[in-house]
C-alpha cells in the first residue's frame, strides 16, 4: 500500500511545474500571482498528458475562458507536456499586460506515432496577471534576431522594438491558429475584402524562357472562398502542423501602420505537406484589431526534382500591391 502511495506521490510530483520570474517586474504580489497561474496551468497540462485526457480544465481565476478554449483547440490537435520541473524566465511588458516566453514543451502530434517534437510556448497576461492567451512561438532564434533587429532585409526595416514585438506577437498567434484549427480567429483577422492569392506549379511547353517546362500560375480567392477551403482541410485532417521560419517584416514606406510580413511556411498535416512563401499585408492602424488585407502563397520549388527553387525576387512583397 505504501508503495502505491509512493508511486502516486511520485507521479503527482513528477507532473508539477514551477515558473520563476527572474526579472521584469517590481510588484511582488503580481509576480507571484502570474508564477502561480502558469505553474498551475502547466501542472494540469502535464497531468492531463499523463492521463491522456481529451480535454483540459482550469479554474477561471488563472485563465480567461477564451484562452482556455484556445488551449483546448491546440490540445485537440496535439498533446504536449513540460518535462522541466522548474522554468526560470524573464517577464516582458507588452502593450496590454505582460508576457512570458520560452515555456518548453515536448509535443506528441496525433498520427505521428511515438515521435515527439519540441515547441516553445508564449503566455500572455492582462494587467491583473490573468492568462489571456497561450500559443506557440515562432522559432526562438528568429524571434531573438527580429527582436534585436538583425533581419536580413534592410528595406524599410521596422526599427521600433515595440512595433516589432507587436507584429511578432500577432504572427505567432496567427501561426498557432492553424495548429488550433481556429477558424474564428482567422475569420476575424482577415479583412472582409482580403485578397488571397495562391500559386501553383503547372507543366507547360519547354521554351527558352521556361527551360524546365514548369511555371507558377496564380489564382485569386475571396476571404469566404479561402476560409471555406480551409474549413474543409481542417475537417479532413487529423492534425495540422504549421511552422514559420525565415521571417521578414518591413513597414510601408508612406503609410503608417501597414506592414509586409514574409514567412517561409512549412505545412504538415495528415495526408498533405508543402513548403512555400507566404506574404501577408498586415494593417495595424487599429492596434486592437489588426487585419490582413493580402495573403499570398508561392511554392518553394518550381521543379523539386531538379532542385529549381522559386527566384527570391519573384516572392511577393509590399511593393507589389498598390494601396
Amino acid at each position: 500500500m505504501s508503495f502505491i502511495v509512493c508511486q502516486l506521490s511520485f507521479c503527482a510530483a513528477y507532473n508539477q511545474v514551477r515558473l520563476v520570474i527572474n526579472d521584469g517586474i517590481e510588484n511582488q504580489q503580481l509576480k507571484e500571482k502570474m508564477e502561480h497561474a502558469v505553474s498551475s496551468v502547466m501542472t494540469v497540462v502535464n497531468s492531463s498528458y499523463e492521463a491522456n485526457l481529451s480535454k483540459l480544465s482550469f479554474p477561471e481565476t488563472y485563465m480567461v475562458k477564451d484562452a482556455q478554449g484556445e488551449l483546448n483547440k491546440l490540445w485537440e490537435n496535439e498533446h504536449f507536456q513540460c518535462v522541466e520541473e522548474e522554468i526560470v524566465e524573464r517577464l516582458i511588458t507588452t502593450r496590454s499586460g505582460y508576457q512570458v516566453r520560452g515555456i518548453p514543451l515536448i509535443v506528441k502530434t496525433a498520427g505521428e506515432g511515438d515521435e515527439l517534437g519540441y515547441q516553445e510556448a508564449v503566455i500572455n497576461f492582462d494587467a491583473q496577471g490573468v492568462i489571456v492567451s497561450f500559443y506557440y512561438t515562432i522559432n526562438p532564434e528568429l524571434y531573438s534576431r527580429l527582436r534585436m533587429n538583425q533581419s536580413q532585409d534592410k528595406r524599410y526595416e521596422v526599427t521600433d522594438l515595440k512595433e516589432r514585438m507587436m507584429i511578432l506577437d500577432y504572427v505567432e498567434h496567427f501561426r498557432t491558429a492553424y495548429n488550433q484549427k481556429d477558424l474564428k480567429f482567422l475569420r476575424q483577422v482577415f479583412s472582409d475584402d482580403a485578397l488571397i492569392i495562391v500559386g501553383r506549379v503547372i507543366k507547360t511547353k519547354k521554351t527558352e524562357v521556361i527551360p524546365s517546362g514548369n511555371k507558377v500560375i496564380y489564382s485569386t480567392q475571396t476571404k469566404h472562398e479561402y476560409l471555406k477551403n480551409l474549413e474543409r482541410s481542417f475537417k479532413n485532417s487529423r492534425y495540422i502542423k504549421v511552422n514559420f521560419d525565415d521571417i521578414t517584416i518591413v513597414s510601408h514606406p508612406t503609410i503608417t501602420g501597414i506592414y509586409g510580413v514574409t514567412v517561409h511556411q512549412k505545412w504538415n498535416s495528415s495526408g498533405y505537406s508543402d513548403e512555400g512563401y507566404v506574404f501577408m499585408m498586415w494593417d495595424f492602424r487599429n492596434p486592437d484589431l489588426p487585419q490582413i488585407h493580402v495573403r499570398t502563397w508561392q511554392p518553394d520549388f518550381i521543379d523539386k526534382a531538379r532542385g529549381q527553387k522559386l527566384n527570391p525576387n519573384d516572392v511577393f512583397t509590399l511593393g507589389d500591391f498598390d494601396l
Binding site: 515536448i106 509535443v107 526562438p140 534585436m148
Partner: protein
Amino acid sequence: MKKLLDIIILLTVVLTASALDKQQAKVNDIKKNKEYLYSEATMPTQKEAASVAYEQIQHEVLSWAASRVSRPIDKVSLKDINNLVDTLVLRRADMYRVFAYVKKNDLVPMFYDKGIVQDDSLDLGVMELFPQIAETKVDSTVAKEEPKPAEVKENKKPQKSLVDDKLKQELQRRFFGSKNSALQKIADARNFFELKHILPPLKADGSIINYGKLATAEKLEECFLIVYDVAGNIKALLGRGEETRPNLKTGQEDRLENYRGCGAIWFTMKDKDLEN
C-alpha cells in the same frame, strides 16, 4: 542474468536522468542569480544552438555594459568575451539546448583593458554612485578642453599643493588637523574612482555623517563638495557656504558655478570634528 541486465539498464537511466537534472538545476540557479548574464538557444544541432547562444550573449553583455556607463559600447567583440563565457549543453526532445553564461564581475578587467572603464577593480555598479555631468545642478555645458582620463596608480602620492605655506598651515589647522584625517584622506583623492575606497569606510567609522549625489543634497550650504570633471578627475574640494565657499586646496574663495560641466558629490561632517 536478464534480471541483472534490467537492473543495470535501469540504473544507467536513473543516473543519466540525475545528471541531467543537476545540469538543469545549475542552469536555473544561474538564471536566478543577478551576478550573471546569460543567453540560451534550442536548435536542431549543437553547433547552431551554440552559434545563436554566443551571438545573444554578446548582445546581452553590450546592452548591460552600455546601461552601466550611460553610453553605447562598440569595442567589445565576440572574440573578447568568448574566453569569459561558459556553456552548458542539454537536450530537449531531439533538439540541442546551449546555455551560455558569464559573471558580470569577470567582464570588468576586459572593459578596463579596452578603456571602457578606468579602474580594473571597479565594480561597474559604482558608476551609478558617481554620476556624470547630467546630475550636476550647475549648467551642464561641455568643458572647453578635453580632460585627460583619470589615472589610477598603486602609489597614491598626494599632489603638490598650490597654496603658500602660511595658508596651508591655516587650512591644515582648520580642516586638516590630526583630528581631521578624514578630510585629508578626501583631499588626497585625485579622482572619483579613488573616492569609492575612501567615502564608504569614513561613513562606516563615523568620520563623515553621509554622502551622496549633488541632486540628493537637502541643505547644500551645510555640505562639503567634491567636484570632478567628465573624466572623473577631482577639480576641487569646496567647504561649506551659500554663495561662496572656501576652496580647501587653494585657500581661495570659490563658487560651485565656476565648475560648469562638472559633477559633484556632497558629504557632511559634525561641527565638533572640524575643531582642533
